[in-house]
């Protein structure tokens, strides 16, 4: 038995639960105790589902006693508050949904329930997943466990901080332009964005429908594979999910990188990148080479510099359409004015925060008469060029390796008044969403005690290859074993 129950990975906890050395109730009590101790500082949780967690833990213990356990049975999970949980408040960290109790579970939550996972709470985020620091939460900002004066990244900042602070064993997030990978990098945990269509989005509150994807945040790559085994797969309720069989991802974690070809796209070592980040990632790539991979340092993806503009046209355009549903009629905050239009306009004025309004305005402009061709259609065409460029690269390489973010976590408040500076934080991750590819961020070092993440990008539905590479690297380092000073 380890010194502390809140140091366990999924696979370690599972071994103890299955051999009955530990009960799920004991495990979850330990986490609830830790949450009450560290969350007043970290503020990763919007809701702690303590009663539900202990009920589910008791049920899991009954199942474990009958040897009916899956690898996730009885183990606590923190779910980003953009994913619907039946009977449990789902706020999107927005005033407009502050009191929403969803009448149904998202498919991923259903799947976790089927595994008898234990929901320990809902995670803070940038409002409607729009942001890179979790400062856009209308409820409160989340703090980086490695340095409480800094941001945890975003938008899945609560999920990443919660895992890093050991307030949960793992978490689910969503990623539209880097919202799983960037906070994972900032908090030194593993964050995985699967291929577009790999995981059902039924019950995920929509932000940008052609880009959104759900994925896990975990302490190591083995855990990531275990969660993917549970949540991936076709769902008839999400017509963008793809009917492809789901392999057992854990069987690819065998450490053998011989014969794998890795490309290093030079455009990702952008101007303005922090020197320590570039140095750490180059060292990590050298390590991959030592582990047997062939590395080509001279890859060029020349359309990369256009990705930011493409993303900030397409994502707000789709968001402006998706967020049209918040009209104060069916659910959520509702301002009661004498007329219908005024009620609607005031509901949205008081219900949405500054960044959400900014993106609704931007998207509405890009889609409006006279500007559609110049902005939205143009962005969709450049999107094709970015996608083709990746396709060509994957004819030659099995994976591409880049930094996850150009800097280490920045100070709370540092970029909050400068949207363009904030958007640059996702410059390495958002091309991956534009092309719909799978990408993972894994811990790859520290600069002055602040985490650095490495991103590995794979082919469409090539999840197993990047998990294999990530696992081999992880096993040759101890970055993932370091703990924040909490």
């Amino acid at each position: 038995m380890p010194d502390s129950l809140t140091e366990l990975t999924i696979h370690e906890a599972h071994d103890l639960l299955r051999s009955r050395q530990l009960s799920s109730v004991e495990l979850n009590r330990a986490y609830l105790e830790r949450i009450s101790r560290v969350d007043p500082e970290v503020k990763a949780f919007v809701t702690v589902t303590d009663e539900l967690a202990l009920e589910q833990a008791e049920e899991a213990d009954r199942l474990l006693a009958q040897n009916g356990a899956s690898p996730l049975t009885g183990i606590p999970v923190l779910v980003k508050d953009v994913i619907c949980t039946r009977g449990v408040r789902t706020t999107c960290s927005s005033k407009i949904l502050e009191n929403l109790i969803p009448p149904y579970d998202a498919t991923v939550v259903e799947k976790l329930n089927k595994c008898n996972a234990v929901l320990i709470g809902k995670a803070n985020m940038d409002e409607f997943a729009m942001g890179s620091s979790t400062e856009n939460s209308a409820l409160f900002p989340t703090h980086n466990p490695w340095d409480l004066s800094r941001v945890p990244g975003g938008s899945s900042g609560g999920s990443a901080a919660g895992v890093a602070a050991r307030e949960t064993v793992y978490a689910l997030g969503s990623d539209t332009g880097g919202s799983i990978r960037q906070p994972a990098g900032f908090c030194s945990v593993v964050g995985f964005k699967p291929t577009y269509g790999r995981v059902s989005r039924y019950g995920l509150v929509a932000f940008a429908s052609s880009l959104d994807q759900i994925g896990p945040l975990t302490q190591d790559v083995t855990d990531c594979a275990l969660v993917m085994n549970a949540i991936a797969g076709y769902d008839r309720r999400d017509s963008t999910s793809v009917p492809q069989p789901v392999p057992d991802y854990t069987q690819y974690l065998n450490g053998d990188l011989r014969g794998l070809r890795l490309g290093i796209p030079k455009e990702y070592f952008v101007e303005g990148m922090q020197a320590e980040v570039a140095t750490a990632i180059k060292a990590a790539i050298n390590q991959l080479e030592e582990l047997g991979a062939e590395v080509d340092w001279e890859v060029s993806l020349p359309h990369t510099p256009y990705a930011l503009a493409v993303y900030y046209i397409i994502a707000p355009s789709e968001a402006s359409a998706n967020l049209a549903r918040y009209d104060g009629v069916k659910y959520g905050f509702s301002y009661q004015a004498p007329s219908m239009w005024e009620s609607m306009e005031k509901t949205r004025q008081y219900g949405f925060g500054a960044e959400v309004k900014r993106r609704i305005m931007l998207g509405t402009y890009a889609l409006s008469a006279g500007y559609y061709d110049a902005y939205y259609l143009k962005a969709q065409k450049v999107r094709t060029l970015i996608r083709r460029e990746f396709d060509r690269a994957f004819e030659k390489y099995d994976a591409l390796v880049t930094p996850t973010s150009p800097t280490v976590p920045f100070k709370i408040g540092e970029k909050v008044d400068d949207p363009l500076q904030m958007y640059l934080s996702d410059v390495c991750t958002l091309p991956v969403n534009i092309a719909g590819l799978p990408g993972i961020s894994i811990p790859a070092g520290f600069a002055d005690g602040l985490p650095i993440g490495m991103q590995i990008i794979g082919r469409h539905f090539g999840e197993e290859t990047i998990l294999k590479i990530a696992h081999a690297y992880e096993q040759s380092t101890d970055w993932h074993k370091r703990r924040p000073p909490l």
Binding site: S210, G328, V329, M344, I360, M361, L377, K381
Partner: protein
């Protein structure tokens, strides 16, 4: 080129988004800056390039139209800001 006050108000109206005077000034500035950054796309040659709407190229996804239970009305109406019987109550659309 900076967006005019009227343009900002026009977009806000299309989006049914109420703005304060302060918001209007702030958005004139910020949206203009962001749009200026989008000018970079004018450098890209997109002759004969088709648009990409999503990345996995699924088309016309069909399924059988089978009868299945849907959510009970009470569950759906539980979050309604205003209701009347089994209906959402709204302000008059026609005045």
């Amino acid at each position: 080129m900076k967006l005019s006050r009227e343009e900002v108000l026009h977009i806000a109206r299309l989006a049914r988004l109420g703005l304060t005077e302060e918001d209007v000034d702030k958005f004139r500035e910020q949206l203009s800056n962001i749009l200026e950054n989008f000018e970079i796309l004018q450098q890209v040659d997109i002759t004969d390039v088709p648009p990409t709407a999503q990345s996995v190229m699924l088309q016309n996804v069909m399924r059988d139209d089978t009868v299945a239970p849907s959510l009970p009305p009470e569950d759906i109406l539980a979050n309604a800001p205003r209701r009347e019987g089994d209906c959402f109550r709204v302000r008059a659309v026609l005045e």
